[in-house]
């Protein structure tokens, strides 16, 4: 992968087609589906509802996340991932408004590749689906909106490690580690980077070396892509499934480009290569 273009013709900062839909499941308060290409997840939210006495908390609502893998019954891995998703979403929720209640999130994996090659993408899809379900329900007060994005890395000789967003099926054999980044967006709330804060990541390397610079580069790249995902979510929320979601590749490309341009202005344009967008 010498040039900036990838196997499937995408640029480093482009993700696969997004699929967003609101399922309107009958007996939950909110539900939504989110997918990067074929890697998708379905989430449903119920709450605030009555809580079991054991789990009741006097000062805040209990936030429960149940994760269901596509095949077999949920085991340790699903529980671990459920805890991860819980920790990524919890900062965006204001649970103290509804003490002694339960907010129940059920995340259903819809992709069987989740336990292998597409793990990071599925984790990101699950977080995004949960966010959409929370927005769809509208019953839990929120501070911001959490968006997640998978990033892959690969090293080529002594050159700088190459980072790219949302590794696809064809790239999986080449990647050496990577991870998923989750950001919480809150317009005009003034967090770390203005209106956005990184709430969770599981960045890892399988090629032996790892440095702080690389992590911060990955975070920058992820943030740009996450902004585009956030923009898509924000657009969709206005109609909330009344108008079926359609992935507009051109629009998303422009969104990502806007993010890049803003970045370049502040950094006084050093890497012009990244600007080449077909």
């Amino acid at each position: 992968m010498a040039s900036n273009t990838r196997h499937d013709g995408r640029q480093d900062h482009e993700f696969r087609t997004l699929n967003i839909s609101y399922d309107g499941l009958a007996r939950v308060d909110g539900s939504a589906r989110f997918g990067f290409g074929d890697t998708s997840a379905l989430a449903s939210i119920s709450g605030p509802i009555e809580v079991r006495l054991v789990a009741e908390q006097a000062s805040q609502a209990t936030f429960e996340v149940l994760l269901r893998p596509l095949s077999n019954v949920p085991a340790t891995e699903a529980k671990a991932l459920g805890a991860t998703i819980r920790s990524a979403l919890a900062p965006s929720l204001i649970l103290t408004k509804n003490p002694r209640t339960l907010v129940q999130l059920v995340v259903q994996s819809l992709s069987s590749k989740g336990d292998g090659t597409q793990r990071e993408a599925l984790t990101a899809a699950m977080i995004n689906a949960s966010t959409l379900a929370l927005l769809n329900a509208g019953s839990v007060p929120m501070r911001g909106v959490v968006c997640a994005i998978p990033v892959g890395r690969c090293t080529a000789g002594d050159r700088e490690t190459r980072l790219f967003v949302d590794p696809g099926e064809t790239e999986i054999s080449e990647i050496q580690g990577g991870g998923c980044f989750a950001f919480v967006f809150g317009d005009k709330l003034g967090w770390g980077d203005g209106d956005v804060e990184c709430v969770w990541t599981n960045w890892k390397s399988t090629s032996g070396t790892f440095d702080e610079n690389e992590l911060s580069r990955a975070r920058e790249l992820a943030l740009k892509a996450a902004r585009a995902v956030y923009a898509e979510i924000k657009r969709g929320v206005k109609t909330m499934g009344a108008v079926p979601f359609k992935f507009n590749e051109k629009r998303v490309k422009e969104d990502v480009k806007k993010g890049l341009e803003a970045e370049l202005k502040t950094e006084e344009g050093s890497n012009d290569e990244k600007m080449e967008i077909s």
Partner: protein
């Protein structure tokens, strides 16, 4: 958590309308909500919806060593835990009566009725067999999850294709889907489950495919599992409603016609999906 009972006005309204042969969703007494199927990117991934009731079925297969008492037979496992996604009434790890019934019925309808030929799943006697795992996810409960689950399960089994294998001496070669076309499971017959609900008032005629409210207020349920060839697999009656023989026979006849309709619907839907897929598989 025990779900709250429907209110008295709801109950009275439903009973009064049923007495006039009217149903809340405008169906006639013996009308099924038309099932719709959505197929996923991979084979054996089917989402079946019956009105607002939705069940997702997923089939996968792997090779295992068979138990010594049945060396010539493959294995089939069905997972059907109801998650709170269906409704917050269901709790993980504490199966409700309904969940137990559904699990038992699925086992009888899909496994013990020999819908899938287990001997064809044998690769090497006593050494290696296919283990087919069917996982059912109850996404939304709007009544009659059992019928929806049975339908999703059987369609997923029919939709699934396992990789082709070759046995040379003691070696087993598994061919990737790109090399050789995957093979479907040997399905011997297609059972369908149909549920009728009875009401406390004996003058009210039984209804097919009850929705959630009708199911909650019913005095008894009769589930008939059978195939389009009129072969009865399971007949289960829940609740203490007394029934005359003739009534049961009449309902079996109704179920036969419905099963034949469903059979055509399922076959058409699978054929359409397969026609679309051929382009990708090559």
């Amino acid at each position: 958590m025990r779900p709250p009972s429907p209110s008295i006005p709801e109950k009275e309204f439903l009973f009064a309308s049923l007495k006039q042969s009217l149903r809340l969703d405008g169906r006639s007494a013996l009308e099924l909500r038309t099932p719709t199927f959505t197929y996923g990117p991979e084979l054996g991934w089917v989402e079946c919806s019956l009105g607002k009731t939705r069940v997702l079925a997923h089939v996968d297969g792997k090779m295992v060593k068979p138990p010594p008492e049945r060396p010539f037979e493959g294995m089939i496992t069905i997972h059907s835990e109801i998650s709170p996604m269906a409704s917050s009434d269901y709790e993980i790890g504490r199966p409700s009566d309904e969940e137990v019934t559904i699990t038992r019925m699925l086992d009888k309808v899909l496994k013990r009725s020999d819908a899938v030929d287990k001997e064809s799943l044998c690769i090497q006697a006593g050494q290696r067999v296919w283990h087919i795992r069917l996982t059912l996810h109850f996404l939304s409960d709007a009544g009659n999850m059992l019928d929806c689950a049975c339908l999703a399960g059987i369609v997923a089994l029919k939709h699934f294709r396992r990789p082709d294998i070759e046995v040379i001496g003691d070696e087993v070669i598994v061919h990737a889907p790109t090399e050789r076309a995957p093979v479907p499971l040997a399905i011997q017959h297609t059972p369908f489950c149909l549920t009728f609900a009875f009401f406390p008032d004996s003058e009210t005629s039984p209804i097919l495919d009850p929705n959630q409210l009708e199911q909650r207020l019913s005095a008894g349920l009769l589930s008939i599992a059978l195939n389009a060839q009129r072969e009865l697999c399971v007949l289960q009656k829940l609740g203490g409603v007394p029934l005359v023989n003739d009534e049961v026979l009449r309902l079996v006849d109704v179920a036969v016609t419905k099963a034949q309709e469903l059979n055509i619907l399922v076959d058409t839907s699978l054929r359409e999906d397969w026609a679309q897929r051929k382009v990708e598989v090559r």
